[in-house]
């Protein structure tokens, strides 16, 4: 039996008829064609499919689409809204925080949630927060560097817009 659900994905309300067994990740990738959310292990281990549900990182292969009814979901596609890279994306680029890029959407969304909670994380905080996201290229050193760098950028940006522009130019 189909269920009609309305999910706010990246700020836009999306309504669809879904089978209860449809996983959130399939809803995003197949119904909405938002393929930035990757399916890695499909067994709740790797974190490649991480999205934000109501701002909280969730493995979208381990949540039913019907459970997201009435909720806000953020995927990697929302980050470069308007064509400008989000500071976390800019930092991953700058610090070579990716090699094959498969884990990157999940890594970035988990990092954003961390930085919202702890704008000034220690290296331990970052490694701890990302311990549910696996990078097969084992590029962890640069991923951690990228998150640190994004933290600095985002703090500066919130402090003064002028400073943020200056930092971006430097």
């Amino acid at each position: 039996m189909g269920h009609s659900i309305t999910v706010t994905v990246n700020g836009e309300k999306k309504t669809a008829e879904v089978e209860p067994r449809l996983l959130l990740v399939h809803f995003l990738r197949e119904k909405l064609r938002l393929t930035g959310t990757h399916i890695g292990c499909d067994t709740t281990h790797c974190g490649a499919c991480t999205v934000l549900v109501e701002g909280i990182p969730v493995k979208s292969c381990t949540m039913l689409a019907v459970q997201a009814d009435g909720q806000q979901v953020t995927t990697v596609e929302a980050l470069a809204a308007g064509g400008t890279l989000h500071p976390i994306q800019a930092a991953f680029k700058q610090e070579h925080g990716l090699q094959c890029g498969f884990c990157t959407p999940g890594m970035m969304l988990t990092s954003i949630a961390l930085l919202q909670e702890k704008p000034d994380p220690t290296e331990d905080d970052i490694r701890w927060a990302l311990s549910g996201n696996i990078c097969r290229c084992t590029g962890y050193m640069n991923i951690v560097k990228a998150v640190k760098s994004a933290a600095v950028q985002m703090k500066t940006a919130t402090a003064t817009p002028e400073a943020a522009t200056a930092a971006a130019r430097s």
Binding site: P20, T44, P57, C61, T62, S131
Partner: protein, 290 residues
């Protein structure tokens, strides 16, 4: 991977959920955090005809001390336990266990009560509840009953829950002064199930052990309570001899199986070492340190 087809229900009240469970019998399954259940459905290890999702029911996400007990509601998530200052200051074994459950993203969604109802012998909370001598409230449309944690687990993924019941609350005797606890877990990597873990809870009284609770993870068909080790500590001064004796008895209580995580001898030895360390840490905390 897709689960087998099922009907989905999202009741708004507990009564509505219990009525559904009554009607559905064996075909109904409660969905809380889903971090164990959804993988099971996807792997087709389980294929219930109906899921009763309790996430839309208000007021089930709570942790509170009331009437002599710490009460945990069905939607209280691991992450909230990890962040709870109440647990950090007064329920050490829980505070120790919380950040060691699965990984941070799973902890955002998974619940303590759901994990206990799932009854994986490698689950962490079962051992914690055995050490704390918790009561579990099992509710159905015709009323509720209370079962001790030691009578709840019947074997792998098997509990005292009837198909029409839901685990509606966990109750832990409220922490008094001079209590301490610890949870020690050996895992190969973050997110792996425990190779071995040991939960310890101590209530000291006048320099002696008033009562001790010791729960074991991943070394038997279910979470085990090391009752002979607990009994051996009661009324004793917690010196090296008492600690060694209890650790030996806890290791004897373990029924590990050899697998890719280790041999029987190895796992039994980890139980012994962790019980020793756990008792020392719990004792330190009961005396106001660590």
């Amino acid at each position: 991977m897709l689960p087998a087809p099922f009907e989905y229900h999202a009741p708004k009240t507990v009564d509505e959920a219990l009525e559904l469970l009554d009607q559905l019998g064996d075909e109904g399954k409660v969905l809380a955090g889903g971090q164990s259940l959804i993988p099971l459905l996807k792997l087709r290890f389980a294929s219930p005809g109906h899921l009763v999702d309790i996430n839309k029911i208000k007021d089930l996400d709570y942790l509170e001390e009331r009437d002599g007990a710490l009460r945990i509601g069905p939607l209280f998530r691991h992450k909230s336990a990890e962040r709870s200052s109440l647990l950090a200051s007064r329920y050490h074994v829980m505070a120790d266990a919380a950040p060691q459950i699965a990984d941070p993203i799973i902890r955002n969604r998974g619940t303590i009560v759901g994990s206990v109802a799932h009854a994986d012998p490698s689950g962490d909370w079962g051992a914690v509840l055995l050490a704390l001598d918790a009561d579990l409230v099992l509710r159905s449309s015709s009323g509720s009953r209370t079962v001790k944690a030691r009578d709840f687990f019947n074997g792998p993924f098997s509990t005292a829950l009837e198909p029409n019941e839901m685990l509606s609350e966990i109750r832990i005797p409220a922490s008094r002064s001079q209590t301490g606890g610890a949870y020690l877990k050996l895992e190969r990597k973050v997110g792996d199930f425990a190779t071995v873990a040991v939960a310890v809870h101590l209530q000291m009284a006048d320099g002696q052990v008033g009562s001790a609770g010791i729960g074991l993870t991943a070394v038997g068909p279910q979470n085990l309570k090391a009752e002979r080790a607990e009994a051996a500590l009661k009324g004793r001064v917690l010196d090296d001899a008492a600690i060694k004796e209890a650790a030996g008895l806890a290791a004897e209580a373990a029924e590990p199986k050899a697998d890719h995580r280790g041999s029987v001898e190895y796992k039994r030895n980890v139980v012994r070492v962790f019980t020793e360390r756990g008792l020392r840490r719990a004792y330190e905390r009961a005396r106001g340190g660590g």
